[in-house]
């Protein structure tokens, strides 16, 4: 699994970085910078939660 953001849909609410701080940080403008390595298994639950919480549904989990 990888976490990806659709940068067109993202409007910098920043919830994802709160729910998945191990994998997502915010840049100085509030947009998520995401590690593009495969997501470790122990983070998948929180990643799902972050994707579901995104107000614009810009965050997604992608199978490889």
């Amino acid at each position: 699994m990888r976490v990806r953001v659709n940068p067109i849909d993202c409007t910098a609410h920043g919830l994802c970085a709160e729910l998945l701080p191990e994998w997502i940080s915010l840049d100085e403008w509030g947009y998520p910078a995401i590690d593009d390595q495969p997501l470790p298994a122990q983070l998948v639950r929180n990643a799902r939660r972050a994707a579901a919480a995104c107000p614009t549904l810009a965050l997604r989990l992608e199978r490889e």
Partner: protein
């Protein structure tokens, strides 16, 4: 000369020079293109046959010829469409036939002087596959593949999030083959003369001829030509811009033995792009030239992706400060951070290209950076601009 012959733009002149277009069966054409080794001439240099095979395997494919020429320093597509439109249109028909498409599109910038000439050429032909001409807003990112598909689908020429890529799902969700018009012109000749003929000139790995725009002049040269041979001499130049505004600066010393191949330029950290070469005279200031282009690229963002519409203006203002002042050390650390944080985070490659261009300037003009930072006067900032910039657009995307 293969593409830029003396033949006039009329159908009669075209056929007198190149003969009639006769198309073999679909599979044979794609095999021939594969054997020819033709790489896309729009910038990425992707093998044309591989794209054709993928699209041909899909359901109800569509083809689109890209003649937008978004790079301000490029003139080749305009030259080709104005002087040899039938070569491009032959290629478009050949591409449509090869992938089994029943509709074809051709995209040019709105206001392009080539538009009436292309329409005139289309009216002269009795083509099997109908061609629809699209007028694209003359914006830098509007000629990106997903933006063209978006234009045809929704009327708005802004890039979209991928995947799916256009060759998977493009115009009306159908697999869409998008080729630069120069690629199509080569295709129009490959179906006539064959792969061996095509491969008989140029670099063995990237064969054929290619159109290069050298400081505004379009020339046709064999692939693998050195920058030195192209520019005649490198004396009087401090650097060369290769590949356009998504390309890189190359120092005059480094340019000496560099060939205009994707292979050589990638190895040097650059890109061949759409075949653009601009020499920068000794008397100019590379940082100021870069600042102007960075500001242009920032203004041309599609205002869709946060890292791009925030990052590029920030980068552009830092480069301007580097060129013209006022300068402080915080600007350099800001610039360094932005150049690292912005790439890879847009829906399209616009931020990546702009960042690559600025990175190359900081490395090639490192001595100028040091001098500017030390507050030493730079005579180059009085020199007239070298890199062409289009007039600002009204900002519409339709």
């Amino acid at each position: 000369m293969r593409l830029l012959t003396d033949a006039g733009p009329s159908l009669a002149a075209h056929q007198a020079c190149h003969g009639q277009l006769r198309l073999a069966n679909r599979q044979a054409i794609i095999d021939e293109v594969d054997h020819s080794g033709l790489l896309g001439r729009g910038g990425a240099g992707f093998p044309t046959a591989r794209k054709m095979r993928t699209v041909a395997a899909g359901s109800k494919p569509v083809v689109l010829g890209n003649g937008c020429e978004g790079e301000p320093a490029s003139g080749k597509d305009h030259r080709l469409l104005s002087s040899h439109p039938h070569l491009v249109l032959d290629g478009l028909q050949a591409a449509a036939h090869a992938v089994g498409a029943t509709e074809a599109h051709l995209a040019l910038h709105r206001g392009s002087a080539a538009l009436p000439l292309v329409r005139k050429a289309l009216a002269e032909r009795r083509d099997v596959v109908q061609v629809t001409v699209h007028e694209v807003p003359p914006r830098y990112v509007s000629s990106e593949e997903s933006a063209l598909v978006n234009l045809v689908n929704t009327g708005e020429a802004r890039p979209t999030f991928t995947p799916p890529r256009p060759f998977e799902q493009g115009i009306r969700r159908r697999p869409t083959l998008i080729n630069n018009v120069e690629t199509l012109a080569h295709l129009g000749l490959i179906v006539r003369h064959g792969a061996d003929w095509f491969r008989s000139v140029g670099d063995p790995e990237e064969p054929g001829t290619q159109l290069i725009t050298v400081s505004g002049t379009v020339v046709e040269v064999p692939t693998g030509t050195t920058l030195k041979a192209l520019l005649g001499k490198l004396s009087g130049l401090q650097a060369v811009l290769v590949g356009g505004y998504f390309g890189t600066w190359v120092s005059a010393a480094q340019a000496h033995d560099l060939t205009l191949t994707h292979r050589d330029l990638r190895a040097a950290g650059g890109a061949l792009g759409a075949g653009i070469v601009v020499g920068l005279p000794e008397a100019s200031c590379g940082l100021l030239e870069t600042a102007r282009v960075a500001a242009y690229l920032a203004s041309e963002n599609a205002h869709q992706c946060g890292p791009c519409f925030n990052g590029l203006p920030a980068i552009a203002s830092a480069v301007k400060a580097l060129a013209l002042g006022p300068w402080d050390d915080a600007t350099m650390s800001d610039l360094d951070r932005w150049l690292n944080v912005v790439p890879g985070r847009g829906a399209c490659r616009h931020p990546d290209g702009a960042v690559r261009f600025v990175w190359s300037a900081l490395s090639v003009f490192a001595e100028d950076v040091a001098r500017h930072r030390a507050g030493q006067p730079c005579a180059g900032i009085q020199a007239p601009p070298v890199l062409p910039l289009p007039r600002p657009t009204s900002g519409g995307w339709r």
